[in-house]
């Protein structure tokens, strides 16, 4: 089976691509495809706790991300440097998210045949 890595690079509510990427990740998982997810750059903000986007008529991406284990999607990673840059600590993240330094991210990418960036 070809392994796919989804790179989540977008701030959560700047447009609709962040949501589209998460929907794609859940669709891959729902159909039993081998998929991993890496949050990087401003995309780590999708992992921030206590998002309150109802005021702008949007759904909470963090709460959607919290449902990933119910899709058996737990190969989920976050870029350590982006977390630092955006003031997020490991404790802020869902427990199933693994923090990776840049070298570990390169290894992660090498293990995947396809890369989809959102």
């Amino acid at each position: 089976m070809k392994a796919t890595l989804l790179l989540m690079n977008r701030a959560p509510y700047a447009g609709t691509l962040a949501r589209a990427g998460l929907d794609a990740a859940l669709a891959y998982a729902a159909f039993d495809q081998s998929v991993s997810v890496l949050f990087a750059g401003p995309g780590v903000l999708q992992l921030a706790p206590a998002q309150e986007p109802a005021a702008i008529g949007r759904k909470s991406l963090r709460r959607l991300i919290d449902s990933m284990p119910l899709y058996d999607l737990e190969a989920v990673y976050a870029d350590s440097e982006a977390l630092d840059r955006h003031g997020l600590a490991e404790d802020d993240l869902p427990a199933f998210v693994t923090v990776l330094d840049p070298a570990a991210q390169r290894e992660l990418q090498d293990r995947h045949e396809h890369l989809l960036a959102f």
Partner: protein, 104 residues
């Protein structure tokens, strides 16, 4: 009863409009007579939506039922018997949730 506003697929536009009377009226349209087992799953879906801000696809619905209601009820077959055809879609509709994404 008069139903609250629905979208083009027949799902409630505002999940806040949901109550048991609405569920019962939608169930009549689906040809389903709601019993205790149905209500248990519909209440579970309301909790899912409150927690995850989304409607579950079948895979997540089955796993959530298994976690919350036990192994006997956490199966595709159990949900298919209660909500024939497309359980994730039909049960979400009756629970007043938006149409699930990735639902065939």
């Amino acid at each position: 009863m008069a139903l609250p506003p629905l979208d083009k697929d027949g799902f409630l536009r505002d999940s806040g409009d949901w109550d048991r009377d609405v569920a019962a009226a939608l169930a009549v349209e689906e040809g389903i007579a709601l019993g205790d087992a149905h209500w248990e799953v519909l209440e579970l879906l309301r909790r899912y939506y409150a927690t995850f801000d989304s409607s579950p696809a079948m895979r997540a619905l089955v796993k959530y039922c298994r976690q919350e209601l036990g192994p006997d009820k956490g199966t595709s077959l159990y949900l298919l018997k209660l909500f024939p055809g497309s359980p994730a879609k039909v049960s979400a509709r009756l629970a007043g949730l938006p149409r699930p994404a990735n639902c065939l």
